[in-house]
Amino acid sequence: MTDDQNDPRLFPPARYLLAMAVWILCAGRALAQPLPTDLTQLPLEQLMSIDVVYGASKHEQKVTEAPSFVSVVTSEDIARYGYRTLADVLRSVHGFYTTYDRNYTYLGVRGFSRPSDYNSRFLLLLDGHRMNDDFYGSAYVGTESLVDVDLIDRVEIIRGPSSSLYGTSAFFAVVNVVTRKPASYPGLHLSGGGASYGTPSGSVTFARAFEGGPSVLASGSAYGSRGQSLFYKEYDDPLSNNGVVDKGDYDRYRRLFTTATFKDFTFQLAYNNRDKGIPTGAYGTPYNDPDTSTLDERRYFDMRYDHTLPSGTAVQARFYYDRYYYRGIYPYYSPYPTILHYVEHSWGYWVGTDSKVTLRPTARQTLTGGLEYRDNLEQRFLWKNVDPGPVDFDDRRSSAEGGVYVQDEIAVSKSVALNLGLRRDQYQVFGGSTNPRAAIIFNPGEHTTLKALFGDAFRAPTVYELYYGSHANPDLIPEKIRTFEGVVEHYARQNLLIAGSVYKYLISDLVSVNTTTSLFENVDRVESQGIELEIDKTFRSGWGLMYSSTLQDSRDAETQRLLTNSPHHLAKLNVHVPLKRERLSAALEAQYTSRRLNLGGDYTPSFTIVNLTLLSRQIARGLEISASVYNLFDTTYFDPGSDHHVQDMLQQDGRNYRLKITWGF
């Protein structure tokens, strides 16, 4: 669906204004219309089961109405299970898995995880703000992420393509992180913790909602980890310290996050700086050299205006300024034993705006429409072969992109609803992409929902892939995915949820290195299919139980060969038990990942990891203590390496501990 290759112009202002005028007219008309839905007619039990989810349709709706298979992880889950990063959160939901190469954490879902793609096939939103940067498209979820999990109110995980609403990167899933509102986290919170491998951390958060006026939340946190002493048998020779790395696994970050709300305006300022040593000898760097490291810095300013009218018409306008900076230090021998430093820097500045209107022209329809525009003011890449020394390469670009979308939710009858969406994106560099999505949502009974979903999505080639990577190719076009999915959600009696999904994904024009030309090309086609099942039960005594299982198969469409890093089976079990009401609770999670093919052609073995967290609240006023053991049974397990590594598989952490104390007053 790529066209307009020769037209570098984006939506000219006239077209923008016209589209805008149309929406305003619609919105104006909608004001006179009657009420949307009447919740007062629902029985109490059902009122209590309404989940308020935002991301799947860009407005709040019930989980069962979302045109997707959605999971929600709340602040309560995060505290209960001792989640440390967004990666921990995402790993806990069905279909998701992660790969850690001791530098970045990569996400996989439903059998798809490309080695070192920096998660550019996932869209990560922080309070609706796009976190994927404009250089690598990266969406960070490990310690490199900007989000402090303690500030999270909930994480909405929306599986499947959502390019019809969000544009690029909403390829496999959208992860919408919603931070706490100041009113729900009032006062001053001091938190300090210690963990295995010499890892202290701390944070200070202040939140306050002033009577009838502004509300503010400000938080700062810092983390440092000395890291582990590691052994890789591939480096087991005297020239490489006999395979032992005893420095270089360090990890440090500093974060700031502030939100201020006044009337309909919300201002947000966020910053993260993470410095990570690379202990794996990746990229042919000298082994056990602590200078090998990457630094990632992300910051943004976001200004948002939200307004909802009694008729249900909602308007949102957003303006933002973002920045991403990366620095990699890669020492090398020249010749042995002289070590020189190759250093590269890349950064991007971008500004953008989006506006959105949700309206209910009739009682049976919810119409959402929006415009987005992003200007990549500077995308720059710079390197020095010898640092300190002269600059060997310095190039900068700029580009712009925009999108326009519309989504209509129609209640066809009492039990059938349609959700139709379409979005057009236009890029200065390679043209455009049009992506539809359609869902039929059927409620045969009060507690059962069936969904048939169809959707397209795309991922725009990144600046890195187009111009700067060692395989860069300026002729790349967007990758595409087409998906078909059927979902059943049944809320049985006594807090029992049974949900399942069957899906098929067809991916084309996937960017891969063509071995003959040694360039990135839109070569690969992938077919993927699978089923997912989830059972969720809360007992009256407060016990909670959740089990999920994903079975999938993903293959190269031409060769029928299995994809690398694609487990056939994932299973998760979560149990939490209140031992002494809210004073003490225990939470246990077990996660199974089946074997995964690695680049060397062998299999990374299957494993099960068990984590246990004890959480104690209100021993004294405002005091919360959390003690966790991760990898309780000290299982030895591995994640597949990428082509940057000599190792085909990288060993992960053994049994490790964390103690965290939070005091709120």
């Binding site: 923008y16 629902l42 309560e76 909602a209 909802t308 303006f319 953008g352 900068r396």
Partner: protein, 206 residues
């Protein structure tokens, strides 16, 4: 940027040259926002408020007020809302045209708590607990169903309190507080609620 790339100061010319392209987009977003504002006078009522409003509506059906209630003089069922305009609006929508026991629902916005005589139900917005304690004192033994939205509200003598749990709206009930007000809460409602007792100091007062 000199900090990040020692010895290689950044040149700004390019980005400044590009700025005008932004103008239409920014204008668009702002115009959209402000035009919309001009059309509208009222403010937010997202799903959370709608759900809470629906709960308030339902509470009226599951609570019995004393039969000799002087509040019956009032010709409707009055829900009073103190300091939460968003909820009041959601409530306006939710109860418009509806009745309970033949009485028409009415929503009253209170500026202060000097006159709560007509209120059958009193919703107290705000989350400042110490202030709520003071407010509650003024209505504690009168036949008004107090509903709050703040941690500790029921422990401090409020009758019903909304809590957000796993993204859903739940509620707590303090039966002792209901007794004091002379209200009878149906077992159906009590079953669905988390039961909360008075904080120690309140018990001593009794």
């Amino acid at each position: 940027m000199t900090v990040e790339c020692p010895g290689h100061p950044r040149r700004y010319s390019r980005s400044i040259g590009r700025a005008p392209r932004l103008v239409p987009a920014v204008l668009c977003a702002l115009a959209l926002a402000f035009l919309q504002r001009a059309v509208a006078q009222e403010s937010a009522s997202p799903l959370e408020y709608q759900v809470k409003a629906a709960f308030l509506f339902n509470f009226a059906k599951f609570v019995e007020w004393p039969s000799d209630n002087p509040r019956d003089a009032e010709d409707g069922f009055v829900i009073c809302v103190f300091e939460d305009e968003s909820l009041a609006q959601a409530l306006d929508q939710a109860v418009s045209g509806k009745t309970v026991e033949g009485r028409v629902f009415r929503v009253r916005r209170l500026q202060n708590l000097d006159d709560t005589r007509s209120c059958r139900m009193l919703y107290l917005g705000g989350s400042d607990t110490s202030r709520l304690v003071a407010l509650l004192k003024s209505v504690r033994t009168t036949a008004v169903l107090t509903v709050g939205n703040a941690p500790g509200f029921t422990r401090q003598g409020g009758i019903i309190n909304f809590i957000m749990q796993d993204n859903r709206v739940r509620f707590e009930i303090n039966p002792e507080a209901a007794d004091r007000a002379g209200l009878r809460i149906s077992s159906k409602l009590l079953q669905l609620a988390t039961i909360v007792r008075d904080a120690a100091n309140l018990e001593h007062e009794r």
